[in-house]
């Protein structure tokens, strides 16, 4: 059927290694009131995100619920159209493509959903669900849809004979495997995984995470992992971006972020990770953040984290800290970064 232009039509401006690039990405959901549906405000779910995902890496977006992680995922896969900024997939601007223009490109970017109980249509068999990508894209897999589906089921560790079964006959972990099989059908380049394991039991989480890592090696996948579980993130990521109220607070390599966090919010998040070691536990100071996340309808001026930050001063309210390099590949948006002395010794970062 229609042959997708899989090769980039225009060479990427910045870096050929950057498979998926978000630049100044913004999503403001309008709030409408009254009879005339006049716009009275906006939920600033995502407000100016810039990051690049390199070919073959796993970038994680972490943050509290309501910080815009999921919205970001939906913007990257163009389930939502951003109000400003651009999304570039493999050198091609997909920010404002129409549904039909986007259709062939969807083979390259796929999504794993959060809730395996709601991401599979209860009225369809596993065969129909996993075979849907080919049907919708008008592609005939070699050997027929049934054979291809069974190979995929096998690949994700399910019994291929379960082709005729319905989702309700599977456990949460198995359902998530079915969802993963569906995303793999079209052999995408990027997979945006929206909290792929947060709905699963801890014992099953590890299996699914390991499956995703194996598949990454096998198919040369690039992952954008959306998560709030910092232990899982540490296990799977190459790089981590910490989000707060629709903005990136800090983005760094995994090791740098976990061992030398610079943003107070990151420090607070990491201090909340439980440590299964009683000796170390006692030595560590746990930072408790006061209050709730402010409303994204009316975010605080200046630094968005200042209302809960123990280091906040006047400048934090007056001036928004830009995302600046504090180390190689390590950027942070804070006027008073932590661990600054250690990292500024090597200030040749990507700005």
């Amino acid at each position: 059927m229609t042959e997708a232009p899989t090769t980039p039509e225009q060479p990427a401006a910045a870096d050929r290694d950057d498979l998926l690039v978000a630049d100044g990405l913004q999503m403001h959901f309008p709030i409408r009131r009254g009879l005339l549906r006049r716009k009275v405000g906006a939920v600033q779910a995502v407000d100016g995100l810039s990051f690049a995902v390199k070919r073959g890496e796993t970038l994680s977006l972490v943050g509290e619920s309501g910080c815009g992680k999921t919205t970001t995922g939906r913007l990257l896969t163009r389930l939502l159209e951003p109000t400003a900024g651009t999304v570039t997939l493999d050198g091609r601007d997909i920010t404002h493509l129409s549904v039909s223009q986007m259709r062939p490109l969807r083979r390259d970017i796929q999504m794993i959903f959060q809730d395996p109980y709601s991401s599979l249509n209860p009225r369809h068999t596993v065969g129909t669900i996993v075979g849907a990508p080919w049907k919708l894209q008008g592609v005939d897999p070699p050997g027929g849809v049934k054979k291809a589906v069974q190979e995929l089921l096998e690949l994700v560790g399910l019994n291929p004979e379960h082709y005729n079964r319905y989702p309700h006959e599977f456990s949460g972990g198995q359902r998530q495997r079915i969802g993963i099989a569906r995303t793999l059908a079209l052999r995408p380049k990027v997979i945006v995984a929206d909290e792929p394991v947060s709905a699963l039991d801890v014992s099953v989480q590890a299996q699914v995470v390991n499956l995703m890592e194996d598949l990454q090696d096998e198919f040369d996948l690039t992952y954008v992992m959306i998560a709030h579980d910092l232990s899982v993130v540490r296990h799977v990521s190459d790089r981590v971006a910490v989000m707060y109220l629709g903005k990136i607070m800090e983005i760094a390599d995994r090791t740098a972020l976990y061992e030398r966090p610079t943003h107070p919010y990151t420090v607070a998040l990491l201090s909340a990770v439980p440590i299964p070691d009683t000796n170390r536990k006692n030595k560590r100071e746990r930072i408790r953040l006061q209050g709730d996340v402010p409303s994204p309808v009316n975010p605080p001026s200046g630094c968005r984290f200042r209302t809960r930050c123990w280091k906040a001063e006047e400048i934090c309210a007056a001036e928004e800290p830009p995302l600046v390099a504090v180390g190689p590949g390590h950027q942070t948006a804070c006027h008073f970064p932590e661990n600054k002395d250690e990292v500024t010794t090597n200030p040749t970062g990507t700005a």
């Binding site: 986007m102 709601s118 849907a132 309700h168």
Partner: protein, 334 residues
Amino acid sequence: MTAPPDTSGSAAEARPEAALDGMSAKAIEGRSLGQIAWLRLKRDKVAMVAGGVVVVLVLVAVAGLLLDRVFDVVHPNTFHEDLVDRAGGTLAPTGALGGMSWDHIMGVEPGNGRDIAARVFSGAWISLLIAFLATLLSVFIGTVLGVTAGYFGGWVDTLISRAMDVFLAFPLLVFAIALVGTVPDEMFGLRGESLRIAMLIFIIGFFNWPYAGRIVRGQTLSLREREFVDASRSLGARSPHILFKELLPNLVAPVLVYATLLIPTNILFESALSFLGVGVNAPTATWGGMLSEAAAYYTIPHFMIWPGLAIFVTVLAFNLFGDGLRDALDPRAR
């Protein structure tokens, strides 16, 4: 290895237990939600009995039609004036218990002595025909408009929802009475009894769609937010695919339940219209019409009992069956 399709593939080699799975391949056949619902329904004795009654009623209705049109055994419109007390002037049936006998198992009508059983049976046909078709009409319109409103939202939703409000505020009974007076003898190639039946189906069916529409709209609103819709969209699905292949299969159960519960309401409504004299014309037998005629002979209760009982049993059977169906299709909704 007993399963031929998998013997050559890498599947059998990669998984040691694949051979075992291959042998039980026939046993691993998914049970659809429909099959599970049927198993659950079979265990619900009340619903099964009610369902049996519904089936019998449909058979009776068809039999009533045949009785009327084909066999002509006891015609529902045949007078048996020898069986009513003309001399005494009361016009009551002469026999005991309202003239019950082997020839007239439910007795005969006071006045002209028509066979009540024949009239009840042939009335079943009219009642069920109108109720079924009217239900089909309103569920069809309601589903199409409800799913459209729920899925597309925005001004489409506003328009359809306000239309529902208008229809719900419509004084249906008054309209029906007025319409009957103004409809000509022949319309759309239909005349006489057929025209009346078509008109009743239209009145009952067309003005009831907002109820089905609201249910479908609400279900669609919640289904639309489920992730499988996003999953479909992220694979490049178009709206028609999402509507018909993803959403509609999930709406079958609530629509089916609503339809079974709407049928008895429509039977009652048709009876009420017939009772008020705006239903099917006399002498065609309808349950409502029989009740209306029986009201003149309130001293002879058996005339009222049979059509009343027919309505009662039918409505009850459909309601119980609908309840059972709902429980079977969605056990969480209890």
